[in-house]
Amino acid sequence: MADRWHKLSESPTTSNAADGVAPLAAADLFREAPAPAAPPLDEKLRQTYYWIVNRAVISPYYDVEFSSGRPLTFELGDAGAELTLPNEPSYSSNVLLPLLSFAVGGKCLLIGGPGRGKTTVAVLMGVLAGSTPEEVRRGVQQGQPQLSISDLVGIPLPRDLMNASSLAEIGIAWREWLSRPVKIVDEYNRIPTKTQSALLTMVAEGYVESHDQMRRTAPASGVESWFFTANDDAGGGTFPVIQALRDRMDVTVPAAGFNSRFLDELVARVEAGEKPEEHVPAELVFGPDEQSAMRAAIRAVPVPAEVRRRLEFFLGHFEFVQGGGRRFEYRTKDTVTTAGGRVAEVIEANSGADLMTDLGAQTLNGLSVRALQTLIVYAKAVAWFRGRDAVSVADVGAMLPFVLRGKLLPNPTHPRFDVGAERELSTDVMSWLADLFAESCRQFDALGRGTDDPVGDLLAQLEAGLDGVGTVEAGRRLTQIEARLRTVAGTGKLYGRDFDDLMALKYLHQRYTAYLRWLEGRS
């Protein structure tokens, strides 16, 4: 019987492509051919993705969309529902994001109700890393209210406990799952708080400690990925997830429901008693060297200047809050939060601003450096996965909702979440985040920030160095900086998107003032 699991997408990569097809003789058919060259790693990862969505996980959802130009859309019903048909290959987030997490060595939180395939996807990642299905299943840590640190990491050897005269003499029987390349923690919001803290050390620092003994958790490849599952990420579960652990989740991926049109496949699996993780083709397993090479290749994908500029503009919206402090630098959401204040109330009190234009008014916080680094890594990963030479705005936009979910928090009192058709965004965080980025890009284009970037020009001027810059030139640049500040002040409005520019102008002013003082002192 044909193996219905073992069907890979065609990979037509050959060497000497420019020379065409190498001639063969009939006698060549009866000689053992040399092993075919392995496909490039990005192609192998794409083959893996398509194998999972076509064979392993029944997931006919294509929510990570890519289109060149405007895609075809259909308005359905009378409540604003719209179905989009992207015109470039698009992907199922609940397979793509775990796969990219596997590739970059990330931490992926899979959320959704019971029985939606979250653990199956995670187990598949473990098998792709070279473990047997049995080993992976045995290594899955089941979150439960009685889970202790010893359950998680291992126990001190009883013999040593009796005989040791110091902690250093106590050997630990470490749990075997700790050094697996793919680590799976099921229902992590049912784990007691103390055990969550031990888990945090592993996730954040890459080691585990018990009785003064330490063990690194990274496998031979140096690439370890973590998969957590939870029924929700809104505070449900037996124990609240500690914020530091929640923050370590690089991406949050909602699991998709089952599409009833694919019941036949489900019936076939029930009848055959088959599990997808037991049928992963050997060609799709990534060895330790391949895992390190894959991560290195992803990190090497460049982020072009125009993409960086657009990303800078987006990030600039969220830190500032008018009325959050007195000194200009302290007018931030962090100032309000760390003082125990309510950001939403401060935003609401700012009656002079257009809350619909100021994107920063839609969030309760700014973005952490960790979140930004994660966004860059995943944007690189998806660009690499799509076979692109560089990261595009579309790559950033596609990954942004999954990275920022749970990190950029919506302001529930913002008028946008209160009225009309936009109200649905209060529960659909992913669409809200995607829209936030799209709106930021629209503002970027409308303000001409891609072509006219005076602050960027001033920064580049300083970056070029001060060698040969005399007092006259330094004075001229100071005047330019002050003129720019006057221009912003002249608008009579202040938005979050200006905050970082204003801080940068002050920084430049300081640098040139100090330099001018040094020049004058020297003369």
């Binding site: 420019a18 001639p23 009939a26 058919l29 009866f30 969505v53 076509n54």
Partner: protein, 213 residues
């Protein structure tokens, strides 16, 4: 309907019972045919048909003909030489059976193939369409973007298309085709009787001969 890559000459699925031949590892040959871009299943059946029509013909040469018929493009020149040899020794029936055609058509087929690698007796009925190559990778094909900018290359039977930012070389004949990624955009060659057709709404590229007779 989802259209998939394939040759119009292969519209009918291979039928027949493969038979073992002492001293020949036909399973290995089938794997090598598949590695060369052909179909192991069609190879087994074509070889069996040739053997059934004339056991006296050299089995290795027959395997080469069957491999070419099954889509292993690299066997083309070798197979044409073997067919000439078969005709000169009166074993044309076996070669024709392996190719799935009447022995009476074999002479015309070989003569036409020398000048037109896309010819087979059924081409007129197919309105000149020879094969569709590529296809969407998610459905088992080769490409993640629709092909465009199709052009002939200088080599016989070679074309190039661009999918997204990547260029591909297509080599094809009546029975088989191969795709190979190119590092750079290739120089266009002189146009011949056959051309490569691409469509904005399809992941397939067609090889088409304007004068199908």
């Amino acid at each position: 309907m989802i259209r998939r890559p394939g040759h119009l000459a292969d519209r009918t699925p291979p039928v027949g019972t493969p038979v073992p031949v002492e001293g020949l590892d036909l399973e290995l040959a089938g794997r090598n045919v598949a590695a060369a871009g052909g179909s192991a299943e069609r190879f087994a059946v074509s070889f069996a048909a040739g053997r059934a029509a004339g056991e006296g013909f050299d089995a290795i040469a027959l395997a080469g003909i069957a491999g070419w018929r099954a889509g292993a493009l690299g066997l083309r020149d070798d197979a044409l030489r073997s067919i000439d040899a078969a005709r000169s020794t009166g074993a044309g029936v076996a070669a024709a059976a392996a190719l799935g055609m009447d022995a009476a058509d074999l002479g015309a087929f070989v003569d036409r193939q020398r000048a037109d690698r896309y010819w087979w007796p059924g081409r007129r009925e197919a309105n000149g369409y020879v094969c569709a190559v590529g296809g969407f990778r998610g459905l088992g094909g080769a490409w993640t973007a629709p092909p465009a900018d199709g052009r002939p290359l200088d080599a016989d039977g070679a074309f190039a298309v661009r999918t997204g930012e990547r260029w591909w070389r297509i080599d094809a004949d009546v029975w088989g085709s191969r795709l190979s990624p190119l590092d750079d955009e290739p120089e266009p060659g002189a146009a011949g009787a056959a051309s490569v057709l691409t469509f904005a709404d399809s992941y397939l590229a067609w090889i088409h001969v304007a004068a199908p007779a």
